[in-house]
Symmetry: C2
Subunit: 150 residues, 2 copies
Amino acid sequence: MESRVEEKLNEFHRRCKSNGLKITPQRIAVYKALIESFDHPTAEEIFKQVRKEMSTISLDTVNRTLQTLIRIGAAFQVEGSGQPRRYDGGLEEHQHFRCIQCGAVIDFHYEPFDNILVPEHLAGQFTILRKSVYFEGICNQCAGHKQIIN
Amino acid sequence: MESRVEEKLNEFHRRCKSNGLKITPQRIAVYKALIESFDHPTAEEIFKQVRKEMSTISLDTVNRTLQTLIRIGAAFQVEGSGQPRRYDGGLEEHQHFRCIQCGAVIDFHYEPFDNILVPEHLAGQFTILRKSVYFEGICNQCAGHKQIIN
DNA sequence: CTCTGTGCAAACACTTTGCAGCTAA
DNA sequence: TTAGCTGCAAAGTGTTTGCACAGAG
């Protein structure tokens, strides 16, 4: 339980080294705050958390560190958050693919995704208004000639 | 093909009336631009589009109109867009539920969702880096206060 | 010692708000 | 006529950038 975090921190240490990044107290603190938070914090929330222990840290550093963590694969960004709002005329049943490079959201439709079942244990906890399958990746325009099939 | 838009506009007309909203040229123009756009435009993109025909419209009106459309159910907001960025330490395989009222993102895990298949026709079009099931709704904390009626 | 990382402040992007005049009903 | 809508401008929130100093390696 406690060792889980230890383990993660060690892995993080290795990951920084292999990416040529320095291990700074700020980076460790931000990473620790992130993996210890039970929900999905904003930069502001992490900033407040870290500042309890390290009163001199700045919000910019938190923002920059989070970007760095994403770049080395130590953190992820929750789907679509932090992008300008995008709208949907609701013409047809469909799902969304978002290009993480240009930000475009492109529809696709795959019938089996139209009726996703809500797991029973969630039905009691939340009022679910919308269920969707959401893919992220690189669109062909951005990919240029490179084509990677996953 | 052309009548599809006509039909939608009529329905929109009805929907405005039944919600006690006035039918203004701006509203029609914004709605039309939205349903005619093939991807998922931002307010700015709709603004540019509408301005070609109606040079006096303001970006605020577009923003406000889009909110109105959402309120009466004539448009939707693409999952999670327009929220401050949220981060994820990537500890375990999981899916996300987002409360549209307080913005919290809460994890849940339902094994059948762990390995969603990418439909074949997409594999050629995009490089898919992330596949997820995403639910939106009202969390229990927020449910106490208000209830959204559609 | 060197060069990356940090803190600060200013700039930037997107959205929201207050207000006065305009217009659909 | 009049409540609701629009355009404008200013303010608010979240993120990014430029720079000089500090600290990890």
